[in-house]
């Protein structure tokens, strides 16, 4: 075939081997730098606008509130990297919260046990999603939309049209008050950072972690390369379930002594927003946990900032919406630029 040759130096002598070089994408990508910059700028602006914003009394609750979103976001990042999605995490938070809260109130169980209960509950719910998606081969968005409604129903049944009142004080460990902080950081945020760091290392430097990217890139090619596609996919949803359990504990702990049925409302959107703003491609195959943590931080900064400025709260929805549109737009432009080549 005498098609025009590609501009490629085939056949030319190659320079001596350069065994040095980055194989992975850089540890911090362009989008993450931008996020850091935007967050820093927002903090400075908010600091000038309402001097109270940069006080520890304001930053500490902000970080504590970032924790559940970022933590569940770590799991969601795994899922979205495999080109899946889980819109049932909000309902899962609700189910985990009500079961755990009821146990705490009824039996006054120790904190560790309540964490275990919450995580097991979340793990089981995640397993249901994962089995249906990985082995039932159904579309992730449809099936999790379905299970979200089922979980919602389940949670409301357990609530029994009441709220759970008088939660014990042991929950303070997570950082609602001074007792729950180390080096000034709320424990919930601290734990989130540790778990995010582990996930970051796993995704980046282990074979199992890299396989998530392969699955999102091309599941068929991954299968032919010997990747256990179904098992990995299942793991992504189960891990998310476990993290939802722990995130539910954070959510209970950071609120009042009362747990209401609306505790998980909108969580799935906040989490997906954090992941997408963090630069993980909704098409799968690319993404990072660091971006997700930054994305969660940005979302929470906007929400807190709007509140503290005394602006109407729906403005925070507007700003988060704009951030999502920009993030997805950047992804599309990237993809187009690549196709053109």
């Amino acid at each position: 075939m005498s098609a025009p040759t590609v501009d490629k130096p085939a056949g030319l002598p190659t320079p001596p081997p350069k065994p040095k070089g980055r194989i992975l994408a850089p540890a911090i990508s362009g989008q993450e730098y931008v996020l850091v910059g935007v967050i820093a700028a927002l903090w400075v602006i908010l600091g000038f606008a309402t001097p109270r914003f940069l006080s520890s009394g304001s930053i500490q609750p902000l970080l504590a509130n970032v924790a559940p979103i970022a933590l569940i976001g770590v799991g969601m990042t795994l899922i979205i990297i495999t080109a899946g999605i889980d819109v049932s995490v909000g309902a899962m938070v609700m189910v985990c919260s009500v079961i755990t809260a009821k146990m705490m109130v009824a039996y006054n169980i120790p904190l560790v046990l309540s964490i275990v209960i919450a995580m097991v509950t979340g793990g089981v719910l995640g397993l249901i999603n994962g089995l249906l998606i990985a082995y039932g081969r159904v579309q992730a968005i449809i099936i999790t939309f379905g299970t979200a409604n089922l979980f919602q129903f389940l949670g409301l049944q357990i609530f029994g049209s009441e709220t759970v009142n008088n939660l014990p004080d042991s929950r303070a460990f997570f950082g609602a008050g001074p007792a729950g902080r180390t080096f000034g950081l709320p424990h919930a945020f601290f734990l989130t950072l540790i778990i995010a760091a582990v996930a970051w290392y796993y995704l980046r430097h282990t074979a199992g972690g890299r396989h998530f990217y392969a699955i999102g890139g091309d599941p068929q090619a991954a299968r032919l390369a010997g990747v256990r596609v179904q098992r990995r996919t299942l793991i992504a949803y189960v891990v998310t379930g476990l993290l939802v359990g722990l995130g539910a504990c954070f959510t209970i702990a950071l609120g009042t002594a009362t747990v209401q049925a609306n505790i998980g409302d909108g969580k799935e959107l906040a989490v997906i927003a954090a992941v997408v703003i963090g630069g993980t491609s909704i098409m799968g195959g690319r993404g990072s946990v660091l971006g997700t943590v930054l994305g969660a931080l940005l979302v929470q900064t906007v929400t807190s900032g709007v509140t503290q400025l005394g602006w109407p709260t729906q403005l925070s929805d507007l700003f988060v919406g704009i951030a999502i549109v920009i993030a997805v737009g950047v992804d599309l432009v990237r993809e187009r630029a690549r196709r053109k080549k």
């Binding site: 075939m1 098609a3 590609v6 081997p17 350069k18 980055r22 194989i23 010997g226 195959g285």
Partner: protein, 526 residues
């Protein structure tokens, strides 16, 4: 108007002159009595093949002859229904790709199986990462990748580049590097050259030669029969799911291989057609699209059926897309009734009276979740509505019903979902859409792909009928018997350019040989 391509001189400098490796000539892989069915389709009936170490073994056959399925069985992507596979003399059971890789069977599939977002190095090692202490040993992987890239003549810096930013040809070479990363004992190359340029093919061949001289057995699938003589020592021919036989390549010519592939079947019967004289309706003058095709010259008169035949990767499908305004030409011109046109979109092409039956009906041709009536009326909403606004349901139903009977679509009602229909019936519906208003020019891309024999006949009859009513028809196809049966004139596209023209009396063997390169470019036998 027909041509009789001459048998090319076989290259005198046959590859692998000595074959002097220790285990060269020993049986590396022996397949006996392999069969495989997908539902009612018997993809492989009975296949035997013996591949020797240190040789390049070509596997040829027409589209659908069973080559790809056979390869998938060897590489563990499918498992056979019957038959045995012996690897180095011992029977083996290959049921997963991991098992095949474990034996040292590496495969480069026709479509690069890569991950766009991951680096070349990661792509090569996915599934067999070098792990040290639980962590991937990036440095070691990188070192090995750089070696592989050099072997293939790619710059070392590619190791760290995301695969998605490479050209398709480079991606193909990365797939080859991926296959070579494991210690391959058998390397399977499925149409590796279809998307490579001549320079890149030379690099590929030198790599293949180096591998065979170190004892690797290579199974080489290609439609380009001429190149087999430069690289292969033996050739196995498949036809209709059977292996016809294995021959030393020097005992055959391109023409003989082509004859074995088609089984020496002569032309299918076709009715007498009177082609009206007259000026050209559609003309392509030196039409080119950089990197896809160049200097394409075609003219179609009203009432004439012209076939454009080319193998996969020859550029035929891109030519059809350009006429229909889905792509643009970088030079040359398209003329309709002598006027130069340059449709910028399918809508613009339609307005000019050009209709297209797209090749990939599932993606480009049909609305799977809609009824037959919807699928037929789409694109004619102006005609089938009141003032171009409200749908005229009665008229829509009428048109759909008349099309169903005219095209003999097998369906209980025009309300049936098209997605639930068989390939042949669905294709008829998509074709029906083009027939509601008789187009001046109809371009059909692969009109009977995945369509059963009966429906194929009917679709061919319809195309002929259209031409008789004065439509200029251009059929773009890689199905050779079809190209011959249906066209009044047949142009062969090779390497992105129109080469030889055949009349209706051409034989399959002639055309296949021409498309595969048995005619020197200068020999434009008209």
């Amino acid at each position: 108007m027909s041509s009789t391509p001459e048998t090319p001189d076989r290259p005198t400098n046959l590859v692998n002159p000595d074959g002097g490796t220790p285990d060269s000539g020993l049986a590396r892989l022996n397949l006996t009595g392999i069969s495989k069915s997908f539902g009612a389709v018997r993809a492989i009936r009975n296949a035997d093949m013996l591949v020797k170490a240190g040789t390049v073994h070509a596997l040829v056959g027409e589209n659908g002859a069973g080559k790809s399925t056979l390869i998938k069985i060897v590489s563990g992507a499918e498992s056979s229904d019957t038959g045995t596979i012996e690897f180095e003399g011992a029977p083996v059971d290959i049921s997963t790709t991991v098992e095949a890789m474990g034996l040292g069977i590496a495969t480069v599939y026709q479509e690069p199986q890569l991950f766009a977002e991951l680096s070349v190095s990661e792509n090569i090692f996915t599934g067999r990462e070098i792990v040290k202490g639980g962590r991937i040993d990036w440095a070691e992987q990188n070192r090995q990748v750089v070696e592989l890239l050099e072997l293939l003549g790619l710059p070392a810096k590619y190791a760290t580049v995301p695969v998605g930013s490479l050209s398709i040809a480079e991606q193909q070479q990365v797939s080859i590097a991926k296959a070579l990363a494991g210690k391959a004992k058998i390397l399977i190359l499925d149409e590796p050259s279809a998307i490579l340029t001549d320079v890149e093919i030379e690099v590929l061949f030198s790599v293949v030669r180096r591998l065979t001289s170190s004892g690797v057995a290579v199974i080489y699938i290609s439609h380009r029969l001429d190149e087999l003589f430069r690289i292969a020592q033996e050739v196995t021919v498949m036809r209709d799911g059977n292996t016809i036989g294995t021959y030393p390549i020097e005992d055959l010519t391109v023409r003989q291989i082509a004859e074995l592939m088609v089984g020496g079947i002569l032309n299918d019967e076709r009715g007498e057609r009177i082609i009206p004289d007259g000026p050209a309706k559609l003309e392509l003058n030196a039409l080119s699209r950089r990197g896809k095709f160049e200097d394409v010259n075609v003219s179609v008169r009203a009432g004439e059926i012209v076939g454009l035949y080319g193998l996969v990767g020859s550029g035929v499908s891109e030519i059809a897309a350009t006429i229909y305004g889905m792509d643009y030409a970088t030079s040359g011109e398209i003329k309709l009734d002598g006027r130069s046109i340059a449709p910028k979109s399918p809508r613009a092409a339609q307005k000019l009276g050009i209709a297209l039956l797209p090749a990939n009906r599932k993606v480009e041709g049909m609305f799977s979740f809609q009824s037959i009536a919807f699928n037929i009326s789409a694109g004619h909403l102006r005609l089938l509505s009141y003032f171009g606004t409200w749908m005229n349901r009665r008229k829509e139903t009428e048109v759909a019903k008349s099309m169903i009977s005219r095209l003999a679509v097998k369906t209980p009602s025009e309300k049936q979902f098209i997605g639930a229909m068989s390939g042949g019936n669905a294709q008829k519906v998509v074709l029906a859409r083009q027939l509601v208003e008789r187009p001046e020019v109809l371009v059909l891309a692969e009109p009977t792909q995945g369509v059963d024999v009966g429906a194929k006949e009917e679709i061919h009859r319809l195309i002929t009928e259209l031409a008789e009513n004065g439509t200029a028809v251009l059929v773009v196809t890689s199905d050779l018997p079809e190209a011959l049966r249906i066209s009044d004139r047949l142009l062969v596209v090779r390497g992105g350019t129109t080469t030889v023209e055949f009349g209706p009396e051409a034989t399959q063997v002639d055309v296949l040989a021409a498309a595969a390169g048995a005619v020197d470019e200068a020999g434009q036998a008209l």
